[in-house]
Symmetry: C2
Subunit: 339 residues, 2 copies
Amino acid sequence: MATMQDVARRAQVSIATVSFVLNNTKPVTAATRDRVEAAMAELGYRRNPAGSALARGRTDIIALLYPALQRQLHATATRFFTSAAERASERGFSLVLWPAANEAAQIDELTRSGLIDGVLLMEVQLEDARVDALRRGSTPFALIGRTQDPTGLPFVDIDFEQTVVSAVEELVARGHTDIAFVYDHSGPTTLHAYGAIARASRTFHDTLAQSGLTGTSVDCRENPRAGRRLGETFRDDFPDVTAVLIMNELASPGFTTGLRRSGTAVPEDLSVLSIVSSETVASMSDPELTFMRAPAVELGRLGADAIIDRITAPDSALPHTLVPCELVPGSTLGDAPAR
Amino acid sequence: MATMQDVARRAQVSIATVSFVLNNTKPVTAATRDRVEAAMAELGYRRNPAGSALARGRTDIIALLYPALQRQLHATATRFFTSAAERASERGFSLVLWPAANEAAQIDELTRSGLIDGVLLMEVQLEDARVDALRRGSTPFALIGRTQDPTGLPFVDIDFEQTVVSAVEELVARGHTDIAFVYDHSGPTTLHAYGAIARASRTFHDTLAQSGLTGTSVDCRENPRAGRRLGETFRDDFPDVTAVLIMNELASPGFTTGLRRSGTAVPEDLSVLSIVSSETVASMSDPELTFMRAPAVELGRLGADAIIDRITAPDSALPHTLVPCELVPGSTLGDAPAR
DNA sequence: TTGTAAGCGTTATCAA
DNA sequence: TTGATAACGCTTACAA
């Protein structure tokens, strides 16, 4: 493994000069530059990141923290990741998924180690101990998601409010007046405390209230079987509901299965609109779900930009970016049945 | 951020002594050890990995290379990852998902950088340029998967041969004599050249041949819609087939949907057995798929052990471990219809 | 424009 | 049992 010293020797220059051409950090005559580059090529030289990190105090590595060990890494989340990684790479950083760092203590550990330059946090909860840990520390960070009060925090997030408003408007425009909102109500081990759920749910009720309507909240765990069970008894349990907003990607295909099995016609008897979902899962359902696509690719890019900006320009304005989901037509949305 | 020097000063010992207690690398009197540990605690000292890496020439970081930027990170793959990460952490290593290193050149880049101690490779193809690159280099590596001829390579993999044999036996025992095997035949951008497909397909035909039967290969892209289209015309296109072995997790729920839509009763008219799949996806199907579960958790652990053994004991025997999938009952397997 | 040399934080050898 | 000290590979004033 060739070192800078080797390159310098071969190019007959000092080690400093090699560094200058490698990093474009000082002007170098074309001739010397050529010699150095030739030497690097011949030796197959690669900068040793450990040495570089030690000298610069930076590693150009960003950790994406996702509770993958506890929660399932679902289709949408993986898109965030790949998109963010791609963007980071464009900007000269490596973004890696760090699975073993999802409690406050582990975050302390990771950030104080100096191994990484910044942290991108996913699956943020309304009250999130990890965010507190990051705040206390000095490692730059950004959130994909938001806490209860994200003032003073750099974040990018899905615009759940706007998404739900659009979704409800869509349903109301089609004449629906009795609408249910399905999501996982269970404790903080799943989505309960996640900002996503909290914001969407509140907006759902607020928006309906403004139209003089009231909505129903329905609980459903995040797996296809729970969705199916819900679907099977839905008509009996909620006879007046004509449209369902479901924010539970994993349960959604099961839900339509359950409806079909119990003889509930979709969308004739019941419209279903899945929000914050993806093509892959929506097309597993029968009929294919009309859904609102999570802007995973865009948010991934924005998230990467957010954390990299924090690192490279700590004084820049904090990003507070919200991106709504976009409606993708399917076969589960219809007009309210006549009464 | 406290350094060793700070700790040494505070504990009134030399920096070397601090290193000895930190790494348990030389005997130290209980008294001094206590002083040092106290100092570390008081200062909240953490070892700086960059310095350590530079001095030791090791980082204790393992990169899991998965073509996540090209292929979708599916449910089963994420289980591999989380399981491997957990095991690595138990053994004192960090295993991170490295998205931007899936071509030979990038692998050179990554391994020569010295940033990581080892590489765990997923989605291995029969002829895999990445494996060649790793062979040429000196970075320890292990495969989750196999090339055409894996002799001399450390690997753990699904026992596709055994899995398919069991699957076929199951179907034959139920009287099926006309069996189709569904998978994605398309080019190397998807599974085509992956060992998984090649091995399973060959075994499928061999096993049937031994029973004096012949099987049919059927092409289907890896997405739910392709599965559905296939299902919709399956009866017409393959009127004699009574059982389907499908190795295409993403397409499988769509396939049952297509069958149902075209009036093909499962399992009365057609049995379906999905191999190398997972609970999550199998239960999205209606009826729920009988499937053979990919041993993701076990293989993840074994993969982590494999690469860590290569790093810590380069002379140990090369692992050649195969683990078959296990049958999980569902509702899509039945006896062959009487003729 | 290029070179010298002092760090960056650890590890590990060699003495004491 | 402990302490000096020379690496490890790179960056970056400061000098020339």
